[in-house]
């Protein structure tokens, strides 16, 4: 902290002094650690950041306009491409919003399937986050490869269930597209039971590492009041000490049936963000174990609903879930037609980037990369 204050007390860009001495670097769009085509216009004093302006839109494809011109179901495969690291939670959020709009009931078994897939996705996202985060810190990909190794197992599960490894297009309004294949639950159980061991290994690789501690502790701290005001959600907010989890608050689906807790930290720095994700994975495994044990027989989709011909009464609905990266919401307005009149995505990555400049000011260029990594963005979602 003292370091940051010391540097911030120096004449900076805001005071107008030393402006000719600043080094203006365009970090991105082609940069190894901007997680895609993201760009930050950074002004550096030496290696100290005095201003940072994010630039978006290199992956912009106007997802919302596309969705307004196709039927409701047609947007489902497009939601896979929002946050392409966790397609099933995107499917879940969109299905939830449409179900709110149409007042659709979801059968119990479908809810269980949704929760199992969503939690598996959360585990997958957080695991891959560890790998990318270490990559940003400069480790030569070992953690990333271990994460990918485990992700492949999850992809195999998803492929068997949904037919695709990443672009799942699985949820339907009022349920899921197909039932669990025979033996899938058993495979999922094997995976979930073996995952604790992997997490232990990952923790001993990462958590106590002194270099990591020195690099991440007290970096990118923001008070929880400012975080709430800036609309930051997900592990970032919980790391700052706000136990706000939509799975508990909204209890959408059947999350109120499961016994799990919300881990939250105190400092809200990059290290806490990483640790919260570790603890969250353990909690997700708890949910998964319960859900896999209790999953009932029954319909996997509400038989009354025809997803392909879905039409809603005029009106609007906002549905949100706790995505792995934060609050993922869909705002839909219907005019009674077959296409949505307005389709808006509230992407967690996009809003979580609001405070990126505040977090980076006064720190090193190397810290910018770490902070951006700890926010955990996916550009498919930021740019839409």
């Amino acid at each position: 902290m003292s370091r940051k204050e010391n540097i911030l007390s120096k004449p900076t860009l805001e005071t107008g002094a030393d402006e000719d001495q600043l080094l203006r670097v365009s970090l991105g769009p082609q940069h190894p650690s901007t997680h895609g085509v993201f760009r930050m216009n950074v002004a550096l004093d030496g290696e100290t950041v005095v201003s940072l302006k994010p630039v978006f839109g290199y992956l912009h494809r106007n997802h919302e306009k596309i969705a307004e011109n196709i039927p409701y179901l047609g947007s489902m495969p497009y939601t896979d491409r929002l946050d392409y690291l966790c397609p099933l939670t995107n499917n879940h959020a969109y299905a939830l919003a449409v179900e709110k709009l149409g007042g659709i009931e979801v059968p119990e078994r479908a809810e269980y399937i949704r929760i199992i897939t969503s939690e598996l996705t959360r585990v997958m996202n957080h695991t891959v986050f560890m790998g990318f985060f270490l990559g940003d810190l400069g480790a030569w990909g070992s953690a990333l490869m271990y994460a990918f190794r485990e992700r492949e197992k999850l992809f195999d599960l998803f492929e068997e269930l949904t037919g695709a490894r990443m672009m799942t297009n699985y949820m339907r309004f009022g349920g899921c597209r197909n039932d669990l294949p025979a033996g899938w639950i058993k495979k999922a159980r094997t995976f979930v039971d073996g995952y604790d061991a992997f997490l232990d290994e990952m923790e001993s690789l990462i958590v106590g590492n002194e270099i990591l501690l020195a690099r991440t502790q007290n970096i990118g701290q923001i008070s929880k009041e400012r975080m709430i005001n800036a609309g930051i959600t997900g592990p970032m907010l919980r790391a700052a000490g706000v136990p706000y989890d939509i799975r508990k608050v909204d209890a959408y689906g059947i999350y109120d049936r499961f016994d799990f807790k919300i881990p939250y930290g105190e400092n809200g720095d990059c290290y806490d963000r990483m640790m919260i994700r570790f603890l969250e994975m353990r909690e997700s495994l708890k949910i998964l174990k319960q859900a896999i044990a209790d999953i009932p027989e029954g319909d996997f989709v509400n038989p009354k609903v025809k997803s392909a011909k879905f039409k809603a009464k005029p009106g609007e609905a906002y549905g949100r879930i706790e995505g792995p990266k934060g609050e993922l919401g869909f705002h839909l307005i219907s005019d009674g037609g077959v296409n949505p009149y307005r389709y808006h995505v509230r992407p967690p990555s996009f809003v979580n980037l609001t405070l990126i400049e505040d977090m980076c000011l006064g720190l090193d260029l190397a810290d910018v990369v770490v902070i951006l990594g700890s926010v955990d963005i996916v550009l498919g979602e930021v740019d839409r």
Partner: protein, 419 residues
């Protein structure tokens, strides 16, 4: 039985030593050939000397270029295995021709020079980075009789030449006319200059013990054995252990390897000073970096790991240069292991680590080496040496870590669980 015994005896007494001695002399073969030819043709003495020097240089360059190719392959394969992959295994058996394929690719790539670059300096920098590395390799003793250039002040020459690398890195960064290379070269300058200090200081203990700056005599000094079998390597003494560790860490930093690979820190400044290079110039940087790595690791082996000497008394029959290269492989593998595991430190941490930890520690090795020298040889003297030097090293070490670097200590973190 008798027959068998005879055979064993034969192989032990006659065959094996013959092979080993032949192998021992193998690196000298080109030199001997040139001498022989010169003798046959009655060449003048100066010509013979010149030719001999050229041939020695050619041998060193040839050997280490082969090493470069092999190590670049081994590095990729080792890192791959650490990461549960196969690594390159498509070109030739076990991917052995991968370096050749890489070389062809590098040579045929377009050479891009940025518009804003200083064209001449941009061209010179990659050439300049190879020269000091080759020069430094020239003074190392690789075997009992394999010393390409036997300088009286070899160590000093090594450091002097090694400092040239910084210059070429800076030229590369500045001449590129781009921002990431500039940042990278500035990082490189500050890092290399800082880490040269612990490197030099921890070598002083070795010079004190040997009483010479000639690298072959430093190895000679270490090639004796205590109690008949434990080798007299400097790393096996208290001051040498501390000095060796400090030297090794500084080596990694000098070679820009992980976790001190800030000058080319990929996730931060793309590729540092090499960002604007492509094709053959990039390959030259790559080569210079690896040759520099061999040189600095070779120096570490020479100073602390006994150079070409065998670890135990009974193993001297193995050719000395094999020991050297075996140790080189071990040192480089350790570096790869570290690279596969740890992450990069930040610039200020790097500097603080150097100035607040490595330099105080390396300074301690000088008086510790003095004490060790006073205690003399022999079992009791050795015991006394250990008894005196260890507290002398440990107490300041604790002071350094606890008091000087307290701010580096990570905080305990509490995590809560809400229902």
């Amino acid at each position: 039985m008798n027959f068998l015994a005879n055979q064993v005896d034969l192989s032990n007494a006659v065959d094996a030593p013959a092979i080993w001695t032949t192998l021992e002399a193998l690196p000298q073969l080109p030199n001997r050939l040139v001498e022989w030819v010169g003798f046959q043709m009655n060449a003048p003495a100066w010509l013979a000397t010149l030719l001999g020097m050229l041939v020695s240089a050619a041998v060193v360059v040839g050997v280490f270029l082969t090493c470069f190719a092999l190590v670049s392959l081994v590095e990729r394969k080792t890192l791959a295995r650490i990461q549960n992959r196969y690594g390159p295994n498509r070109v030739g058996p076990w991917g052995l021709f991968q370096p050749v394929a890489d070389g062809i690719k590098m040579l045929t790539k377009e050479d891009i020079v940025p518009d804003k670059a200083e064209k001449l300096l941009h061209l010179i920098a990659p050439i300049m980075i190879v020269i000091p590395a080759v020069l430094a390799l020239g003074v190392l003793p690789y075997g009992k009789e394999w010393v390409p250039v036997n300088l009286e002040l070899g160590l000093l020459f090594f450091f002097a030449v090694g400092a040239m690398t910084e210059l070429s890195v800076f030229i590369a960064g500045w001449a590129s006319g781009s921002k990431f290379p500039m940042l990278g070269s500035l990082r490189a300058i500050s890092q290399m200059v800082s880490y040269e200090l612990p490197l030099l200081i921890s070598a002083i203990g070795v010079i004190m013990m040997t009483g010479s700056m000639s690298l072959p005599s430093i190895v000679e000094h270490q090639s004796q054995y205590n109690f008949g079998f434990i080798s007299n390597w400097n790393i096996f003494t208290p001051w040498g252990l501390v000095g060796g560790i400090v030297f090794f860490i500084a080596c990694i930093a000098e070679a820009n390897r992980c976790p001190f690979d800030l000058p080319e820190g990929e996730s931060e400044i793309v590729a540092g000073h090499m960002t604007e290079y492509s094709g053959f110039k990039y390959a030259l940087f790559f080569m210079g970096e690896y040759l520099g790595l061999f040189a600095i690791s070779g120096l570490f082996i020479t100073l602390f790991l006994g150079g070409w000497s065998a670890p135990f008394a009974g193993l001297e029959f193995v050719p000395s240069w094999l020991w050297f290269f075996g140790k080189l492989v071990c040192v480089i593998m350790t570096m790869l292991w570290i690279r596969g595991t740890w992450m990069r430190v930040r610039m200020d941490q790097l500097m603080r680590f150097c100035w607040l930890f490595l330099i105080p520690l390396s300074l301690l090795t000088i008086p510790a080496a003095g004490i060790w020298r006073f205690c003399g040889d022999g079992f009791l003297a050795g015991l006394l040496g250990w008894g005196v030097t260890i507290p002398f090293l440990i107490i300041p070490y604790i002071i350094i870590t606890v008091i000087l670097n307290r701010r580096l200590a990570p905080a305990t973190r509490q995590y809560h669980f809400a229902e």
